[in-house]
């Protein structure tokens, strides 16, 4: 999974909270149809920071974004943008600009008119409108489509028009609702790089709603992982991956072997705890290694530049990644857990590096515990 590798990009935001800029949400609540959609949500986004709201569908991330944009009034709580309380302002009076999931371009206007519309509403002089629109169209490489209609250009281009229409307003806060979900896989990677690049260049405070952890990991300064109307964890992508606070975060971000049982000295024993092991923390070799238990290769799945193995040990079946020489199905070898996370009632207790080479394997491993490997982004219900 590419999530395990940092893109190597430098994160620019400063950790010191700036009181003037950015976005602050405190005590936000929303009940829709008798169901609590958002439950006491608090979030601070620093000026110039790019934050993703990440979660499965129905977790309330889009509702939160719509409340930030002003399309939905919260039942309680406050929303502050650039130091100004905007909770009771309508969408048209907020200093935020939104890029809609379906782009929401006006089909009866040309690309130029779409982008110029927000400036026309602000009654700017005509020359200034033309200049600003052309600047921003240049920024998203769409000057050649200036007089096209939205129906005549491709999905990726429409997306850039939508972005241009938001950027031309020079908003204090840029909101993107699933900006890449309507693009094909290849374009998605390119467009998300573009969005990140433009966001960095303009230093614009940005909130992105997404259900794609890959997308969130690769563009965000920080990610708020949402589940059932609450933020489960709010941290940097690296920290979320290394130290997921809950099993939900651990399974939603990246891939994890989720095994019901207690982790003791490199072995999983029968117990009430839940043990989480990242596939890359499972070491497999054909020769005996210190701390390794005998394991049989059950499945081999090619993943491109690496292979995913299903390894059956006495205590659990573990997924592991190997590159280079790939063992055959049925091969006997040794698997060692280098690092495991222990969760009690879904909450992270320790991130134990025990069971590594320094600790010998338990002489009497417990009976095979039921193992369950969950892919990333699986349904939240079974992750909870």
């Amino acid at each position: 999974m590419s999530t395990s590798h940092d893109t190597g990009r430098t994160r620019t935001h400063t950790t010191s909270a700036q009181t003037t800029g950015g976005l602050t949400i405190s005590g936000l609540n929303k009940v829709l149809g008798g169901r609590s959609i958002i439950d006491d949500l608090n979030l601070t986004v620093h000026e110039g920071e790019l934050v993703s709201l990440l979660g499965p569908s129905g977790c309330g991330k889009t509702t939160t974004l719509r409340m930030i944009a002003g399309f939905l009034a919260p039942d309680s709580g406050t929303i502050t943008v650039a130091g100004r309380d905007v909770t009771h302002l309508g969408a048209e009076r907020r200093p935020s600009a939104m890029v809609f999931q379906n782009y929401a371009l006006w089909p009866h206007m040309t690309v130029f008119k779409n982008v110029a519309f927000p400036l026309k509403l602000r009654k700017l002089p005509k020359a200034e409108i033309v200049q600003r629109v052309e600047n921003v169209l240049g920024l998203v490489n769409l000057l050649h489509h200036r007089d096209s209609r939205p129906g005549q250009i491709s999905g990726g281009e429409q997306q850039r028009v939508a972005l241009a229409r938001a950027l031309v307003q020079e908003p204090d806060l840029l909101l993107l609702d699933e900006p890449l979900s309507n693009l094909d896989a290849k374009l998605r990677v390119k467009v998300r790089e573009d969005i990140r690049e433009i966001q960095q260049r303009l230093g614009i405070t940005t909130v992105i709603v997404t259900h794609d952890q890959d997308e969130a990991m690769s563009v965000s300064d920080r990610i708020a992982v949402m589940n059932a109307g609450k933020i489960e964890q709010y941290s940097t992508p690296e920290d979320l991956y290394e130290h997921p606070k809950t099993t939900f975060v651990a399974t939603f971000i990246g891939t994890m072997n989720r095994i019901e049982g207690n982790y003791r000295d490199g072995v999983i024993e029968r117990g009430d705890e839940v043990t989480g092991v990242r596939p890359e923390d499972v070491h497999f070799s054909m020769e005996q290694v210190a701390g390794g238990l005998p394991a049989t290769v059950e499945r081999v799945i090619p993943r491109g530049h690496f292979h995913e193995l299903y390894l059956k040990r006495q205590d659990a079946t573990l997924r592991a990644y190997v590159s280079g020489q790939v063992p055959a199905i049925g091969a006997e070898g040794y698997a060692r857990i280098d690092r495991a996370m222990t969760f009690i009632d879904g909450v992270l207790q320790t991130s134990d590096a025990g069971g590594s080479a320094s600790t010998p394997a338990s002489p009497e491993p417990a009976d095979s515990a039921p193992a369950e490997a969950e892919p990333a982004g699986s349904a939240p219900a079974d992750a909870r």
Binding site: A91, E92, F117, R165
Partner: protein, 297 residues
């Protein structure tokens, strides 16, 4: 003038039918038979739809043409001069051309906000109201007009233009509400939200986005309302006669008092606005930018 549009549909249906029969037949004879069948079908449809119109058009120019004769007795423009020299006719044309646009305009002012509300808001008894609009079309109109007349007498609306306009609006309400409501509902909410996000007030959003994008539907509704108003005779006769005659009510008089050739001339005159409107609507709605408005990705 529904004939022109209806005519296209059976023809394409015939073509489709024909191509199917061609596919099924496995010889050249079958193909020929298919083509012959199509030809017969098309000729029949054309005769069925255009025949009466042709009969009407011929009658407007003949001196006399009665049943056993295969050919008219003679040709004349007399009926046209009769119609055009009748002073009542000019007044009727004028009344029709003034009253119908007023009816469409009033109907739009009353019904379009209602249509928007039906499309966008969920209020008490919304469905009941929406279906209730059909009530005016559900019963024989004459009964409705008779009761309306007694009310109009009390309100001094009999033999007034206002009375005629009110009576004609009744027949347009369903068109002016249902079709634009569907058109408004077809405007994606996100397009309106995007405009608000860009800084437009609710009223501005309505006029620049909602109304603009629903325009094709509204135009269709306007055309249908215009034709409904233009053709309305029962209520108009009851309320307007003998003070005000519109073209359809004038036609009653003509049919009763003149030979049928005059009625033929008048029918042709009566159909002109319909044909013109249909052609204009077809040009502006079917092709061009308005249709594009509905292609949302």
């Amino acid at each position: 003038m529904a004939a022109t549009t209806e005519q296209i549909a059976p023809e394409t249906a015939a073509v489709r039918l024909g191509s199917e029969s061609i596919r099924r037949s496995d010889g050249r004879a079958g193909a020929v038979l298919g083509k012959v069948l199509i030809a017969i079908f098309v000729v029949f449809m054309v005769l069925f739809i255009l025949g009466p119109l042709l009969w009407l058009a011929i009658h407007a120019f003949v001196t006399n043409w009665t049943f056993p004769n295969l050919w008219p007795d003679g040709w004349t423009m007399r009926w046209w001069t009769t119609v055009f020299s009748d002073p009542a006719l000019g007044a009727a044309v004028q009344n029709s051309l003034v009253i119908s646009p007023i009816v469409v305009l009033c109907s739009a002012l009353i019904c379009l906000p209602a249509a928007y509300a039906f499309a966008r808001y969920d209020f008490f008894a919304r469905r009941t109201f929406l279906v209730g609009l059909f009530a005016t079309n559900a019963f024989p109109k004459m009964g409705l007009f008779a009761t309306l007349a007694s009310l109009f007498y009390a309100l001094n609306l009999m033999n007034t233009v206002v009375g005629i306009v009110i009576v004609q609006i009744i027949g347009t309400v369903v068109f002016m509400t249902w079709i634009p409501a569907a058109a408004f509902a077809g405007v994606p909410r996100s397009l309106e939200e995007a405009a608000r996000d860009a800084g437009a007030s609710k009223i501005r959003v309505f006029f620049t986005i909602s109304l603009r994008m629903a325009l094709p539907g509204i135009l269709v509704a306007a055309v249908m309302s215009f034709l409904a108003s233009f053709d309305e005779a029962q209520g108009t006769y009851l309320v307007g006669a003998p003070q005000y005659f519109t073209m359809p009510t004038e036609m009653y008089t003509l049919v009763l008092n003149y030979p049928k050739q005059v009625a033929a001339v008048f029918s042709i005159l009566l159909s002109i606005p319909s044909v013109v409107l249909m052609l204009a609507a077809r040009k502006h709605i079917m092709g061009g930018q308005l249709a594009e408005g509905f292609q949302i990705r």
